[in-house]
Amino acid sequence: MAINLSLWSLKAGDHCEILGYDDALAEKYKIRLMEFGFHPGESVICLQSPSFGAPKVYQVSNTVFSLDDEVAAHVAVRLSGASE
């Protein structure tokens, strides 16, 4: 899948919905991401987007993960309105 907007491009406070993963991401990481709850269709909130390219912090259901661009740039998302 070609990625227009990736998880990595989110800013702190952005809400989004996961669309899928691109092919550059190794299968085993896709599986691990799904195990963590990053399923297609799932909503994710970007909690922190620290400066200097540090890994970003995402909330998915009730868990918080930090991902760096090696992973997050391969996850396609669609922005959704803030749900609160």
Binding site: R32, L33, E35, T63, S66, D68
Partner: protein
């Protein structure tokens, strides 16, 4: 003897529960990482049953070689007829990450007709925030008993014990019917269950995020990072240094009291110089290992270390490392041994090895006396830039920086020239909540590490010290080191060190400093006939300045000590922790050759420049 398996996803509180049930002390830390260690211990309440602590993974579908080992191990254990039942710990505040794992464990237990009980841990946290978990509903959905517990407060532990003491023979029929369910379906199922039963609202996450706004902010986060690191090093110097002095002092006192009571001169010399200095050589490290492990334990358990890993990830990635290498490398600036232990928390085996490779070049405190001696002898005590910077301080900073950079460059080079995707994992770190650290497990862990060091490395350091003493003492009973076996050895290896402009005496000191780097100073003192050089360096400094040793040789020695892996304790612990003698040997030889080459270059270039 019947066995009970304890399993759970990382950071769900498994170690704390294990300790509570067995009275033992596995390391507890608020930092998600897996270890392939398997601990086991008798249940305190039911001494005829053994509890086996399995490494935590997020899933039974392994994605690295190391996870595979852990998963295989678990699946083989399920086939063991002695294994009576399985306890699966989940973090009730973060169901999503635990439920898939739980379903997989339930499935595998059904396949092997083992009884399983799910323990929903961290209930104290939920209660403090007036949150609830639908335990009944979850039990029904999982077709498995779920017991709400708190490993920290002890709530629900009695119920766990009575569940465990209940006759194990009532192995239930598989009811969840998961026996043939593939992982992909379980993933979806876990997801649904988490949404259905997970605690409502995200108070917990909002609290955590408010603190993250501070600790990950570009300004406040940066400032607090440096402040915390500063305090960490202060604590080593203010807490460990006096204890180290006290250890040395009391050993000296004991030696003084004991030695005159001995008859024979050889026995006297052996006792004071080999026995006591052999014991001293490794005991002085213990306070440092203890304090460092303790303070890092506090930082880990508070949840801060995961943030520090995040902050340092980007710069370390340049060198093939990960943010998770930060804690070990930081410890390495004090001592490589706690650093090697700390590397356990790195989940990617490849990055763990790279971290092992970087650690010995972090400027540990045993190098400090060597640097101090050489800088005092060769760098003039002058200031530059109108008194703004002292040359000696600058040289000290320079050699520290040189060591760290060399370490990073070496790992960077190795990571770029070798590819090993099978053993690598990308940076994905669960950010644990901030917590008030529980003191007791941290103290116990620091104690265990110190003990491990004394038993594992102590013997080796002691042996090396004694052997070096024997070589230096015989055959002429300590009369003249130059004529001893050690002296002969020094003369024999002199050609190795003459390209650095060093004679046999420095060769001997380098050789003996293999026991521990700072021994270099004491040995030189002995050779030059200067008593107590390790306490007061001034006479030794003056002696070296008065000799015709070239500036280039001094600089070459500095560079040599910055790089060379001159430390038996590090080698011993490295071989144990990495479970690889070949890695240890390669690192030792590699760093020696690199140190030597760099030292020769420095000597030759300085010779050309200074003339």
């Amino acid at each position: 003897m019947s066995k009970i398996i304890l399993i759970g996803s990382p950071n769900s509180g498994k170690s704390l529960l294990f300790n509570r049930l067995t009275g033992l002390s596995q390391k507890v830390a608020n930092f998600p990482g897996i270890t392939v260690d398997v601990g086991s211990g008798k249940l305190q309440a039911l001494p005829d049953k053994t509890l086996i602590d399995f490494p935590g993974t997020y899933s039974l579908q392994a994605i690295s070689a190391e996870e595979e080992v852990a998963v295989d191990y678990f699946e083989r254990a399920l086939e063991d007829p002695d294994v009576e039942q399985v306890l699966c710990v989940i973090d009730a505040t973060r169901l999503e990450k635990s439920l898939l794992f739980t379903l997989q464990v339930i499935r595998d237990c059904e396949r092997n007709s083992k009884k399983i009980t799910v323990l929903a841990n961290m209930m104290d946290v939920l209660e403090n925030h007036d949150l609830t978990l639908d335990v009944e509903g979850m039990s029904a959905a999982l077709h498995t008993r779920v017991i709400p517990i708190s490993a920290r407060s002890g709530k629900g532990i009695d119920e766990v014990i009575s569940e465990l003491s209940a006759t194990a023979c009532q192995v239930r029929e598989p009811r969840a019917h998961l026996v043939d369910t593939p992982d992909a379906i379980l993933r979806g199922e876990a997801h649904k269950l988490a949404h259905r039963f997970g605690p409502e609202g995200d108070v917990l996450i909002r609290t955590q995020n408010r603190l993250d706004n501070f600790f990950l902010h570009s300004l406040t986060g940066g400032v607090s990072f440096f402040l915390i690191m500063y305090l960490l090093f202060q604590s080593i110097f203010t807490w460990a240094a006096p204890v180290m002095d006290a250890v040395e002092g009391s050993l000296a006192w004991m030696a003084d009291a004991l030695v005159p009571l001995l008859g024979n001169q050889v026995v006297k010399d052996f006792t004071s110089d080999a026995l006591f200095s052999g014991i001293g050589a490794f005991l002085v490290f213990v306070p440092q290992i203890f304090v460092l492990t303790f303070v890092i334990g506090l930082l880990e358990d508070s949840g801060y270390m995961a943030r520090a890993a995040l902050i340092c990830h980007k710069p370390l990635r340049l060198f093939g490392l990960t943010g998770k290498s930060f804690i070990p490398m930081l410890s390495g600036v004090a001592c490589a041994i706690p650093a090697i232990y700390a590397a356990r928390a790195i989940d990617s085996p490849r990055k763990r090895v790279l971290t092992y490779i970087a650690i010995p070049l972090m400027p540990c405190s045993a190098r400090l006396p060597v640097y101090t001696l050489l800088i005092a002898a060769f760098i003039p005590a002058q200031t530059a830039l109108g008194g703004l910077v002292g040359l000696q301080g600058l040289a000290m900073f320079g050699i520290y920086f040189f060591g760290m950079m060399t370490g990073l460059l070496v790992t960077g080079l190795i990571s770029r020239t070798s590819e090993d995707h099978h053993n690598d994992l990308p940076f994905v770190l669960e950010l644990p909540p901030y917590r008030l650290p529980g003191l007791k497990p941290i103290v116990r862990n620091a104690w265990n590490r110190s003990k491990h060091f004394v038993t594992k490395a102590g013997k080796i350091i002691f042996t090396v010290t004694v052997v070096i003493w024997l070589l230096g003492y015989f055959p002429n009973y300590g009369a003249d080191l130059g004529q001893s076996w050690l002296g002969h050895l020094g003369h024999f290896i002199e050609p190795v060190f003459s390209p650095l402009g060093l004679d046999w005496r420095y060769g001997v000191a380098i050789f003996t400093s293999f026991a521990a780097r700072e021994v270099f100073v004491g040995t030189l003192g002995t050779i030059f006939g200067i008593e107590g050089a390790d306490e007061n360096m001034v006479p030794l400094v003056e002696h070296i300045q008065g000799s015709d040793l070239a500036l280039g040789s001094g600089l070459a020695l500095l560079v040599f000590f910055a790089i060379s892996l001159q430390c038996v304790s590090t080698l011993a612990i490295l071989a144990k922790e990495s479970a690889s003698r070949s890695l240890t040997l390669k690192m030792f030889v590699g760093y020696f050759l690199l140190a030597y080459t760099a030292a020769v270059v420095v000597y030759q270039v300085t010779g050309l420049l200074v003339g």
